[in-house]
Symmetry: C2
Subunit: 312 residues, 2 copies
């Protein structure tokens, strides 16, 4: 099962973190931008090529110490079809380097349309007699507002192609409570959504105690993390909000079980822009990212202890 | 304001319907598929080219009688970057033919990431000194589960570029009630979400009584349409679920006000696959689509009466 592979990579690296690849053009060192603009002009293609080079440098510097990357689809989509090609190329490169790829797309729809998203991001698409992989994620983030009709087509695809999903449960942003904290049936909506994840996940059981339907739970809400870990014992958490959004390692410790398993913590800007924070030469951006990734790993591991993936 | 332009086109054509362009490859006539596969192989590119030719035929046949098209992003994304290029080309062709373009992407995220989606679908993207439009929608469907942090970046972009959004409120699928019908603060979640739309829309006022933040309300739930029209007097509805999903013109009549305004009804499969239902020559697929679009228009108009867009 796909999330088992993620858990194994986390154990190998002793690092429950994922590097978010949300490459705003401003984050890309000038020397890369200039090179690509010279070759392709100040075009969407030129920008997309710059993102790819930036990403490849990051992946090279991180692949032996960080188990996974999480490209955020929006930052590729904003460069049009060229950007989407770079999303593919980034996924391909990360896969070649042995990293687990979580596509952060927050996709949602119903029935055959959700099947189309599932095929796009987690499956294969048949054209005549040939099969193709449009994009190369191991897992996809999705939004469950539409209910089971939006999730079941994904589970079918996950079963067939050994993939996983993460459903938005309690997001990291300040206004997430406007809807998610409202009470339904005596519990906040995020708990209700979390319980649906736990149920949907039964169809994708894993060997380390966690199912193939994970939950997105913001690091910025430590009490909610604690509560969700209690009531969702078999749901793995994808935890955004660490670093740039203000959450610390202490805030997320409750996501993890006695084996140090249970979640993966994302950092995007903190890693991508480490060279700006360090004020080092921009040509050292990848090494600065590595230094920050190691610092983050050590900080989080100091709250978790050794990670042991033991089959149940 | 963007939705005013949609309302004007609806009045011009006396037709409150939108043709959904959700082109599954199976819907594309064989002669188009074969031609494209011969030229480009049984590849994602070959499939994407076939979709584009299919779409162009539909747009040519519909552009003088139907005010808008709604390409569903999933069916383009499933053909990878080639598919996304065809999404762009479809939007471009519909725009050239004077149609209003609603991109059905149900995108959602927060802060700068939502700004990236807004730029991708409703805005412009700066690369060096140049500005580019990655995609060409007039409006975008979005998911509000994350609260105001996910919607405000869109509104900023809508104001700047004269665009609109439609937020998922009560979706047309059988399981939409799993979450959306749950009671919060004494009302179903879809009402609560609808009220947020009405509030968000205040920042995008229109001249015909409707704001620039619309709501997606499924035709399959006529009682909920009626209730939502009552409590959301300034929110325009995008209404899926007519035809293939089982709803009839009578079911959606309550969405419309005394001027025949208030919503736009989507049909995708019914129009795209009219030639299969008619069992006519597949080379007449576009004319069959036109016949079905006219039939649908007449059926819906018989419940609404003349459409009059009068400035408030």
């Amino acid at each position: 099962m796909s999330l088992d592979r993620l858990i194994e990579k986390i154990e190998q690296t002793q690092n429950p973190t994922v590097a978010g690849l949300d490459p705003k053009l401003d984050y890309v060192p000038e020397y890369i931008r200039e090179k690509c603009f010279e070759k392709y002009g100040e075009t969407l293609k030129g920008a997309a090529k710059a993102l790819l080079e930036f990403n490849k440098g990051l992946i090279d510097a991180l692949c032996d110490i960080v188990p996974a990357v999480k490209p955020q689809a929006a930052y590729y989509e904003m460069y049009g079809p060229f950007g989407m090609k770079v999303l593919y190329k980034t996924q391909e490169y990360a896969r070649e380097k042995g990293m687990y790829v979580i596509t952060d797309g927050k996709r949602n729809d119903i029935g055959t349309t959700m099947e189309a998203y599932a095929a796009a991001h987690l499956g294969k698409v048949k054209v005549g007699a040939e099969e193709h992989e449009p994009f190369l994620g191991d897992a996809l983030t999705v939004n469950g507002y539409l209910g089971s009709d939006g999730i079941k087509p994904l589970i079918k695809t996950c079963l067939k192609n050994d993939k996983g999903i993460f459903v938005l449960v309690k997001t990291s942003n300040p206004s997430s409570g406007e809807l998610q904290d409202k009470l339904v049936d005596g519990m906040p909506i995020y708990e209700y959504m979390g319980k649906m994840c736990e149920k949907w996940g039964e169809e994708l059981p894993g060997v380390y105690g966690y199912n193939g339907v994970g939950a997105v739970v913001g690091a910025t809400y430590p009490e909610q993390i604690k509560r969700l870990r209690e009531i969702l014992p078999r749901t793995f958490f994808l935890i955004p909000g660490y670093g740039a959004q203000g959450a610390t390692a202490k805030d997320i410790a409750a996501a993890f079980d006695k084996n140090g398993l249970g979640g993966i913590v994302n950092s995007s800007r903190g890693i991508m822009c480490a060279y700006q924070k360090e004020k080092c030469d921009e040509r050292e951006y990848a090494m600065a990212a590595r230094r920050e990734a190691l610092r983050m790993r050590d900080e989080i591991m100091s709250f978790i202890g050794k990670i042991t993936a033991e089959q149940e």
